[in-house]
């Protein structure tokens, strides 16, 4: 009697559950079958797909490029707004953008831009010289509200851009207070994209949630932490572009969940994947691997104000002690090259004559003995978050710990939550720390000066390394407009950095993305902001 009731109850429970599951399962299959057909709509391409879902790790902070500094914001704004000049497809050469041509004066103090004609903002107003002037006036007046403007176009208390004036409808003249070598590269950066003056004059902060630019796509909708939707700008001034009808940026914070979503066809592109996913992507013929050209450096900083790294011999010894090639093979899956300079080889001014410190534990031991190093344990800081230049801080730190132990330098690995890590490192509290940098504008100044000049102690120079000779070279290079002379200055600067060894430069990595096999023409840009106007489905 007892048994029977139990059985009937159990059977009932199983029945109910399986019906629920079956119902869900069945309807899902039906849906996924019709999904592709329904998204197609009225398109010309053969697979019929014109909607791209782009999966990425985080959401944007705001859609006004002038007020943000995070890459995830620029990823979207690069498709909504345009800059006066553009970077090349996969490099940092300067090409026409909203300006079709430009002419610098002999002394490098005046630049005259001819603008594209017939370009309109998404709100229907005209793009013209007046609009450019108003954008620059807005950035200049905003002070710290526009962080990139103050780092790129303000030196000390001096405004680099003295004035911007409109001459007629299509000519803009920039007057500089001092020559600035990377001036055009700066203008090509996403934060200096031109927005509709009508929009920001009506509401200074409105662009953050309601962007109005001239780009190939228009803003549609934003569901915070979930998705941002943009659609084709039908009035885009270049005929035939963009090829997609709609792009949806979806945030999927977990790396493996993002790859799962790509495998399940829920997204079409997955950005920011781990190097360890490379093999599984390559072995899947429904997917393609996309490599982003490298413009970064991952390094081990040695704080020059803390013993034992206040001794240059100890720093050189550590450079000899670390086996970079093995690090690259083990943790970057070969998607990196060992570094010898503080900037990657694609940057003009890179000094390839620097020999680099070869892996030589014996030499390291000798240097340590020479320096009189007492065998004191050091703290080795491991980055808590993965970055393209440092895919797994903890494991890389463990490998380095082993390398250092081999030459008689004991170390303890420590790590902090990311904002804490940066804050403490900035105050010089670390002995040796892992960190890295991705270039903003592809200029040498953005690497060597930003990361190693005495001016940037308390900001990006976390090692507190300060060399006056280097400083003179770097400051001279900032205003040197002759490309050859400028490169010579940077080559000399790299020699000084090499000799003083404030870092162990570890690697220049190649970040990877993956996409469905039918996606065409996806070109990943080294800055991380990819234009999607020419992308389409086969």
């Amino acid at each position: 009697m007892k048994k029977k009731k139990f059985w009937s109850l159990g059977v009932m429970l199983i029945l109910v559950l399986s019906t629920i599951l079956a119902a869900c399962g069945a309807s899902d299959n039906k849906d996924s079958g019709s999904k592709d057909a329904s998204t197609g709509g009225d398109t010309a391409s053969s697979s019929g797909k014109t909607e791209l879902v782009y999966g990425r790790g985080g959401d944007s902070v705001a859609l006004d490029p002038a007020v943000v500094t995070d890459g995830e914001s620029f990823t979207v704004t690069a498709n909504l707004y345009e800059t006066l000049v553009n970077f090349g497809e996969q490099d940092v050469t300067i090409n026409p953008g909203l300006a079709k041509s430009w002419e610098p004066s002999e002394d490098g103090l005046t630049y005259t831009f001819q603008l594209q004609e017939g370009v309109k903002f998404h709100d229907g107003t005209d793009f013209n010289a007046e609009a450019v002037v108003k954008n620059f006036e807005r950035w200049k007046a905003g002070g710290e509200k526009h962080p990139y403007y103050s780092t790129q176009f303000v030196v000390g208390d001096t405004q680099v851009i003295e004035s911007v004036t409109a001459e007629g409808d299509n000519t803009v003249v920039f007057k500089l207070s001092q020559p600035q070598a990377p001036f055009l590269k700066n203008l090509a950066m996403s934060p200096f994209a031109i927005a509709s003056p009508t929009a920001f004059e009506a509401n200074e902060e409105g662009l953050s949630t309601n962007p109005v630019g001239t780009g190939p796509f228009k803003f549609v909708d934003w569901k915070r932490t979930a998705s941002i939707t943009i659609e084709k700008n039908p009035d885009y001034y270049i005929d035939g572009l963009p090829k997609l009808e709609k792009v949806i940026y979806r945030s999927i914070p977990e790396n493996s969940a993002r790859l799962t979503a790509l495998n399940a066809g829920e997204i079409d592109v997955a950005d920011g994947l781990s190097p360890s996913d490379k093999t599984s992507i390559e072995s899947n013929d429904k997917l393609q691997l996309i490599e982003r050209p490298s413009m970064n450096v991952g390094y081990l900083g040695l704080t020059a104000t803390r013993a034992p790294f206040d001794n240059v011999k100890v720093r050189q010894a550590v450079n000899h002690a670390i086996d970079k090639q093995t690090l690259v093979d083990a943790f970057y899956e070969g998607l990196a090259q060992p570094a010898k300079n503080p900037m990657p080889p694609v940057i003009s001014g890179y000094n390839d004559d620097i020999p680099g410190y070869e892996y030589d534990p014996e030499k390291a031991k000798a240097l340590l003995a020479e320096a009189g190093y007492d065998g004191k344990e050091i703290e080795l800081w491991a980055m808590p978050v993965p970055r393209p230049y440092m895919p797994d801080g903890q494991k890389i730190a463990e490998a380095i710990q082993k390398n250092l132990a081999d030459v008689g330098m004991p170390s303890k690995i420590v790590s902090y939550e990311w904002a804490t890590y940066l804050d403490k490192a900035e105050k010089g509290e670390a002995d040796a720390f892992l960190l890295g940098w991705t270039g903003d504008n592809g200029d040498a100044d953005n690497f060597i000066y930003a990361l190693l000049d005495g001016d940037n102690i308390g900001s990006n120079n976390y090692t507190f390394y300060d060399n006056q000779e280097l400083h003179k070279l770097l400051v001279a290079a900032q205003t040197e407009i002759d490309e050859e002379k400028r490169n010579a200055l940077y080559k000399q600067a790299q020699e000084i950095v090499f000799a003083d060894a404030p870092w162990v430069p570890l690697a220049h990595s190649t970040p990877i993305l993956a996409a469905g096999a039918e996606l065409q023409n996806y070109i990943a840009h080294p800055t991380g902001s990819d234009r999607l106007d020419a992308v389409y489905f086969k």
Binding site: F6, A257, D423, S459
Partner: protein
């Protein structure tokens, strides 16, 4: 009863005050500076200081605290340092997303957990009892993170039954009204979207339900076992009542009180504690909202987010306490 409720609501004040104070001091005690995070690694010291001043972060802590408190009393939860939007406006969609998921998970947990507990107690020491309790033990110990990834692999990639992540099909977005998507899609008569939302709730819901389900099952079982041994149950059985009625009507009523407490506590915990599930399934919920705010040192969002969760937690427990009187007339509050 009203008197009791009034007293409980009054107790809210010191709890929330103390809570807000602790959170306020804690997030300022950890290193890191919102202005630095907003301006990025490139920023100069001067710019950071200027931004600190314009955000009011250079003021002494008590000025900042009382200004914040004054705002909260007027229903102003502050403005997010990062997005520049009022927290009171921004927080609701996240809260709704988590509430929808947590309630869905709790319904699964309660239905399966309570029944498994009852059946285990009813057929104590049977194979069902043993299996259910072993599963429950695994349930409380399995890492949600691993479970979530396994679910995605099995049910999305291999079987293709459920979408792997997200709250809606982004290609066919839902127009939010109440931000509870199950309700919104019904209001708009979009039944296709309704099933889509329901399907998307299944995997994160199951992952989130595992732990409470296991706890509820174990609690129900032990509570039921105790009640089943009592005299009145024996009397009911001696009277010749059907076993099913004895268990589900007579015994359960007395056994459910401690279970109800657990259900209340677990529901509250799910609201703030769904962060792992939210991350794996990219669910735009309150846990991730606050977690990301911590990374950005977005003080107003952290303070107000935790305050709101604490408030809801307390309210849920108040409701549970009041439910006791409904289930057990012997319980009376004065």
């Amino acid at each position: 009863m009203l008197h009791y409720m009034g007293r409980r609501l009054l107790q809210l004040i010191p709890v929330l005050l103390g809570m807000s104070f602790i959170v306020f001091m804690l997030i300022r005690a950890i290193p890191g500076n919102p202005a630095q995070v907003i301006l990025g690694q490139q920023a100069t010291k001067e710019a950071v200081e200027a931004l600190n001043a314009s955000l009011g972060l250079d003021q002494p802590w008590f000025t900042q605290y009382f200004r914040y408190l004054g705002g909260v009393l007027q229903g102003d939860l502050g403005v997010s340092l990062r997005t520049k939007l009022p927290v009171s406006e921004e927080i609701f969609p996240y809260l709704a997303a988590t509430a929808e998921l947590a309630l869905f998970a709790m319904i699964i947990a309660v239905i399966i957990g309570v029944n498994a507990g009852i059946i285990s107690a009813w057929f104590q020491n049977s194979w069902f009892d043993y299996t259910a309790m072993v599963i429950a033990l695994i349930g409380v110990s399995v890492p949600v993170f691993w479970l979530g990834l396994m679910e995605q692999w099995a049910f999305s990639v291999k079987l293709d039954w459920f979408p792997s992540s997200g709250r809606e099909n982004v290609r066919d977005p839902i127009t939010p009204i109440t931000h509870f998507y199950l309700i919104d899609t019904l209001i708009q008569g979009r039944f296709d979207q309704f099933t889509e939302v329901l399907k998307r709730l299944v995997l994160p819901g199951m992952a989130l339900a595992t732990i409470p389900m296991a706890i509820i099952a174990r609690m129900t079982r032990s509570s039921m076992l105790e009640v089943m041994r009592s005299d009145y149950v024996r009397t009911a059985r001696a009277k010749g009542q059907k076993m099913f009625v004895v268990v589900y009507k007579h015994a359960l009523k007395n056994a459910i009180i401690p279970v109800l407490t657990i259900i209340g506590l677990q529901t509250g915990l799910l609201l703030g504690g769904a962060i792992l599930t939210e991350t794996i399934f990219s669910w735009p919920g309150i846990g991730r909202y606050i977690y990301e705010a911590i990374g950005f040192r977005d003080y107003p969002v952290i303070q107000s987010g935790i305050l709101v969760i604490a408030f809801i937690f307390i309210m849920i427990n108040l409701i549970v306490d009041l439910l006791y009187t409904v289930i057990d007339p012997r319980i009376k509050y004065k």
